[in-house]
């Protein structure tokens, strides 16, 4: 009967993980694949995969949060998704909900243009830089979490994010100079 109790505890813990991070996984998937249909598919597969390996992950996590592990699963599945279908991300980031919000004043319209410009810049970044920015800004992950999700050191992650922002800044400046 001990095994059943362990299973129940495991399922309860998994449900908590699911509830806490469904939005994170979905947001990551959406910004990664660029459309709701594939984002749903990727989210489902991520949780299915996570359930299969949850016991081991929990055992090996040593009490650390499991969000980076979950995002890493989504990251690997997304990589397979592109490899299998031999296609690159077609991230239409301008579809993000913020751009559908009604804006009234001239200032807001201007800001909307800037946001659009930033999103275009993000979509042109190399994959690792784009992913790091998605994790930082859409998911609110800190350097340590991002490092675990990307399988890098914290130092390397800090540099990665810094370079991503710098590259973005340069591309916005170039665009405005033209």
């Amino acid at each position: 009967m001990a095994a059943t109790a362990d299973k129940e505890r495991l399922d309860r813990d998994f449900s908590e993980l699911y509830r806490a991070h469904l939005r994170d996984v979905y947001s990551y998937a959406y910004y990664r694949v660029g459309n709701h249909h594939d984002a749903e598919d990727l989210t489902e597969q991520t949780f299915l995969q996570a359930y299969r390996h949850f016991e081991r992950a929990q055992r090996e996590s040593d009490g650390r949060p499991l969000r980076p592990w979950l995002i890493r699963i989504a990251h690997n599945l997304a990589a397979n998704f592109y490899r299998d279908r031999s296609r690159r991300p077609m991230t239409q980031l301008e579809d993000a909900s913020v751009l559908h919000e009604p804006h009234g004043t001239e200032q807001l319209v201007e800001e909307r243009e800037e946001v659009k410009e930033v999103l275009e810049g993000v979509s042109k970044l190399p994959d690792d830089r784009r992913e790091a920015l998605i994790m930082r800004f859409a998911l609110g992950m800190d350097n340590r979490e991002i490092a675990r999700a990307l399988g890098r050191s914290e130092g390397a992650t800090k540099v990665l994010i810094h370079r991503a922002i710098k590259q973005l800044e340069d591309s916005i400046r170039e665009d405005s100079d033209e």
Binding site: R23, F47, L93, S97, V115, V122, F137, L139, L168
Partner: protein
């Protein structure tokens, strides 16, 4: 400029709420999946207590049952992936069955 870019990134990369239909489907799927796995596990515990020689097979059944249910319930899991998993699990079941048979033979001696 960096601060401005970061501010714009915060406005641009907002968290996206999953569609309600997806949440419902996933929750239903996950709860069915865990129920199936729990039922299989309870069956295994009963058989295990009755006959230790059969420990191997129900373990495989639990694994196969859980994953198969996951494949059925969590929609649109890729066919290819299912096939890969099934093959892996069949091999696992076979090897566990082999151990169980071996134990059975030793006990009969």
């Amino acid at each position: 400029m960096s601060d401005r870019v970061e501010q714009l990134l915060r406005s641009a990369l907002v968290p996206i709420e999953p569609p309600e239909a997806l949440s419902d489907r996933l929750e239903r799927g996950l709860s069915e999946l865990t129920e199936v796995a729990a039922a299989e596990l309870a069956d295994w515990e009963l058989s295990a207590m009755r006959d230790p020689r059969n420990w191997g097979r129900p373990v495989a059944a639990v694994v196969v049952g859980s994953v198969a249910a996951g494949g059925l319930v969590l929609v649109r899991a890729r066919q290819q992936q299912k096939k890969r998993n099934a093959t892996g699990l069949q091999a696992l079941e076979k090897s566990i069955r082999g151990v169980a048979d071996d134990i059975e033979k030793r006990l009969k001696r």
